[in-house]
Symmetry: C2
Subunit: 432 residues, 2 copies
């Protein structure tokens, strides 16, 4: 618990209503691997943070940053071996159609670039997302937001949304999975047609490859591939938001590999520099060059030797630690442990690798989303020394998303505490 | 000169048409203070780069980043002593009305925030800039751009511009300075009235405090103060873009101190972390809190312990090295040396501290801007081992903007080379 003085100074300096976790926010002082330490001397197992992917306080990344900052760090209007080598290494991890990359500083900037690229290449302006999405905080990217009530009542005419494709809360009851896939695809067709009817040229669709903010739904089989096909038929491009899904998070290098669809443009961010601000957008050489020519894009801090050094150290850590396999294995272990739990409010466990969602409901009959119950679980876990979060359209999905260096021992610590915590948090309808 | 192989790999990986300096781009390998080293073993005096403000390869900044990255680097939803202390220290350098700060990653993100803040507080959407400005690369901020031909033919209805206030190429000939100030202010009134006529609510005006991209014009006395007054009378807020002007660049801490005007919102960036991506927006606690409440703004990488550590080390270097005084003194020395030069194409020398513009014209009678001649000077300087750039509405202003640690000895090296270089580049009309 932070002393009142620090919280008051925080609010004065950063403004009231600055988002903070927990009613009594943690004052952090140190991090080490999957552990976070507070000013009170407490230690927490971090099952929330995806940015410090190769671990809090990672030595390789810190040293790479130090060496590069001591040696050279300039903008991208000069040539630099390290930047080019990092770009080549990063692209080598993607499918072959991803030939070139534009670097930026934040996920929001990456999505800005991806939208400009799709719009520039197609000549259209219309973008389709999901009805429970969030892709960033700039004026333009915010127009996509459907996660909160923002844009719900009066969406921007250039941004449309489709119902989030999912098996747990399907758009219509009683359908087979194949019928459900077709239904969600028909929703996409409807929105594409609506742009046409409005005279808004179609630029494409954007989606997180694993629909993280939507609550990690099990996406009906074939939806993503079908969506890419429909988007292409309508002259659009498909943007995969890999800001959360990428860099081994899913137990594969990229989230788009979990369902095997082939996006045209991929935006990357969060874990890319283990906390150093770095993001990027990759696509074909033609798409990237077209974007460069029309926008003359320049980003002061991006594509710098410092970004490349940190980014390269992250790749080195993921590869040398074989974290793709580890994430897959530990994630399966976590999933199995969660699947074995029984609780009337615990309605569904799903996800990929070390990104798991646990659907929390008021009762198993209605499956009504219970965000307040989920918040009580998060708080109960905090009391047990474990940090986790909430996600999804209804904020009722418990988010399990530790650093990639999370191992079986940590998974067991989490599972023991989670089992204990949910016993202390009865289902709302049972309790009521 | 870079080997062909590296340039080809650069274009393949980063896209064709990626902006690069010089026809034969420099391949940089190391930086040290005001010096940059190339793969060819050449050394260049850096009279261009403002981001590595406390010097290339600065030890204090690199070590601060290393120590913090080793210790802890997380997002801003936890409390962290270092972040709050940095915020307090940074705000302590500003005038009293700047009470709170929103951190971000890039200058573009800072301007995004400043626009949202002004619009949120006023309820208006209309923003006025200058006719030769550039404030960033996002979709929204790009609507302000007037420096290139972008937006020139069909500006967005929410963005208007006024002629850049200046003494060298005044809007009307034969006026006294006082009359000129009044004329430029009347242009501002005209644009405010035009928003009203269009039914677009007025949100405010944005300008770089020293109008750097406009070519560092001598701004008619009283214009900035008068503009703030007009903007306030119309219910708007004044945003000072200090991304280039701030952090001792002008020989004062902030560019707004060069003319003594009082903006409502200040955006900061470039030199803030000596190359680590960090930016920020400061305003009253009320404005910042209002922004926080309405936008629920969160930026994954921003307001992190890493940003704070780098930002704090930069402030420490500026203060312990008394760089504000040094910049003022060395800048005056540079100005005096440039003023003493005689060349038919060298029409005007102006600026603040270590940010000086040299107006290059075809001939002294017409004062026609000569961007090609300026480019020849830049190339001649490169041949003499010195890096400088071009700026301004007509790209004919030679930009002198070295790291802040530039001293008298470096200034003399620059002046000797510049004198020699301009002798080798005759005025265009003389040569023709």
């Amino acid at each position: 618990m932070a002393p009142d003085g620090l919280r008051a100074r925080h609010d004065r300096i950063l403004g009231d209503a600055t988002p903070l976790f927990y009613d009594e926010p943690l004052e952090l002082t140190e991090g080490d691997g999957v552990w976070l330490h507070t000013a009170d001397g407490d230690r927490y197992l971090d099952v929330y943070n995806n940015v410090p992917c190769v671990g809090h306080g990672n030595t390789r990344v810190a040293e790479a940053m130090y060496q590069q900052a001591r040696t050279l760090n300039v903008h991208s209007r000069y040539l630099h071996q390290g930047v080019i080598e990092y770009g080549e290494r990063l692209l080598g991890l993607h499918h072959d159609q991803f030939e070139s990359v534009v670097f930026a500083c934040s996920g929001s900037e990456a999505i800005e670039i991806a939208l400009m690229m799709a719009r520039g290449a197609t000549g259209g302006r219309g973008i389709i997302g999901t009805d429970a999405t969030y892709h960033g905080n700039t004026e333009e990217v915010s127009k996509l937001t459907r996660l909160s009530s923002v844009n719900a009542s009066s969406p921007h005419p250039e941004f449309r949304s489709i119902p989030t494709p999912q098996l747990f809360r399907p758009l219509a009851p009683g359908l087979t999975d194949t019928e459900l896939t077709a239904l969600y695809l028909s929703e996409l067709e409807t929105q594409i047609a609506a742009f046409e009817a409005d005279g808004v040229g179609f630029a494409g669709m954007i989606a997180c490859s694993i629909m993280a903010n939507e609550g990690l739904p099990r996406i009906p089989a074939g939806f993503m591939e079908g969506a890419v096909e429909l988007v292409h038929e309508a002259g659009g491009l498909f943007i995969a938001d890999e800001v959360q899904a990428g860099f081994a998070r899913s137990g594969r290098w990229w989230g788009y590999q979990t369902s095997g669809f082939e996006p045209d443009i991929v935006a990357m961010g969060k874990p890319m520099g283990n906390g150093l601000p770095v993001s990027g957008v990759t696509a074909s050489h033609e798409l990237v060059s077209g974007f460069r020519r029309t926008r003359r894009y320049f980003n002061t801090y991006a594509g710098s030797p410092l970004q490349a050094a940190a980014g390269n150290a992250v790749l080195e850590e993921i590869e040398s630690g074989d974290l793709v396999s580890q994430v897959s294995r530990v994630g399966a272990h976590l999933r199995a442990g969660l699947d074995a739990l029984e609780h009337p409010a615990l309605a569904d466990v799903r996800g990929h690798g070390l990104f798991i969602g646990v659907e929390w409901v008021t009762d198993p009959d209605s499956n009504t989303p219970d965000p307040d119950g989920a918040a009580r679980v998060v708080e109960a876990m905090r009391q047990r020394g474990i940090l986790m979060g909430q996600a999804g359209q209804h904020r009722n999905v418990l988010k399990v998303r530790p650093p990639l260096v999370f191992n079986d021992e940590h998974a067991d610590l989490f599972l023991d505490a989670f089992s204990d915590a949910i016993d202390a948090v009865p289902a709302t309808s049972v309790r009521a």
